[in-house]
Symmetry: C2
Subunit: 171 residues, 2 copies
C-alpha cells in the first residue's frame, strides 16, 4: 500500500482563510486575492506570526473544501499520514489534534506526525503547499496551490489546485 | 552529515524508573529488577497505562544517565532528531517539549518529532528500546537495553547497554 504524507496547514486546514479573517479584523477591510497573490504569508499578512500564536487560531481554522470526503476515500486505498510542522508552536498540538478528531475522525493517532522539519519523513507521495517541504522529498510530490506559492513555477512538483484534482489523479 | 533518530522514553527519559516509583507508591514496596526483567511493561507494572496518563508523569521523568553530555557531543557530529511516539497521549506533548527544553536545551524545535508509528521516519541511524520501532527500520539500528527487552535476542539490532557504549561507537 502506497503511503501519502498530507500536510495540514494550507492543504486540509484553510489557514489562508484564517489569515484573511484575522487580518480583516485588524485592518477593517478584507484584503483581495490580488493583494496577497504570490506573496509570502509574512508579507501578505504582516501580523501572521501574531495570529498563529493566538489561542484558537488552529482550532477554528476552516476545513479545506472537499478534503474530508476525498481523504476518506484515499484513506481506504493508501496509508495516509497527516504531517504537520508544528513543533515551532507547541501550543498548537492540542488544537491541531482536536481539530483533526473533529473533522477527520477516521485519522487515528497512529497516522499523525508533528515535526519541525519534514526532511526525515519517508513516504511515497507528499502533498504540501510549501517548496521547502517538497524540494528535499525524493519521490512523488504535489504542490497544493495557495496564494503564497501561486506565482512561483512549480518546478519538478505537479501543481494541484483543489482536492478534486488530487482525487482525479490518485483515486 | 549522518542523521540519527533518538527515541525519548526508555532512551533519554528514564520512564522505567518512573514506573518503579509510581508502582512503589501504589503497592508499598519497590519491585526488584528480577521481578520485571524480560517482562513487557504492561505485565511488569500492571497500572502502567494509568501512570502514563497521569499529569506530570513525563514532565518529571528522570534523565537517562550520561545522555545529556553524550547527546550534546553527538549533536555536533550528526543531525540529531528526537523522535517520540507521543500522539497516543496528546497530553504528553507539552510535558515532553518542556522536559526536552529543560534537559536538552541544545535540541531545537526543528529536531523534535512526535508521531504515532515510526515507520515513516527516515534517518541513517535509529536508537530505540522497542523492537516494533527498530524492526521495520532499514538502516543502522541500536537496541537500547531496558528491562522489557533484556531477555530477548537482539536479532539484527546491535544492543547497547548505556549511553557510554553509544559514545564509544558513534563518537
Amino acid at each position: 500500500m502506497e503511503r501519502i504524507a498530507v500536510d495540514m496547514d494550507g492543504v486540509i486546514a484553510d489557514v489562508s482563510e484564517q489569515f484573511f479573517l484575522f487580518d480583516e479584523k485588524d485592518f477593517g477591510k478584507r484584503k483581495t486575492l490580488e493583494e496577497v497573490m504570490g506573496k509570502p504569508e509574512s508579507i501578505a499578512f504582516p501580523k501572521c506570526r501574531e495570529y498563529v500564536l493566538t489561542k484558537g487560531f488552529f482550532r477554528t481554522a476552516p476545513v479545506m473544501k472537499e478534503s474530508q470526503e476525498i481523504l476518506l476515500q484515499l484513506n481506504k486505498q493508501y496509508e495516509v499520514f497527516i504531517v504537520s510542522a508544528a513543533t515551532e508552536f507547541p501550543h498548537s498540538f492540542s488544537e491541531k489534534q482536536e481539530w483533526l478528531n473533529e473533522y477527520f475522525p477516521f485519522i487515528t493517532w497512529q497516522q499523525i506526525v508533528f515535526c519541525g522539519t519534514k526532511t526525515i519523513i519517508e513516504t511515497d507521495i507528499m502533498i504540501d503547499d510549501h517548496f521547502k517541504n517538497l524540494d528535499h522529498f525524493k519521490r512523488t510530490t504535489f504542490l497544493f496551490s495557495q496564494s503564497h506559492n501561486f506565482l512561483q513555477n512549480e518546478g519538478r512538483h505537479r501543481r494541484v489546485n483543489s482536492w478534486k484534482e488530487i482525487a482525479d489523479i490518485l483515486l
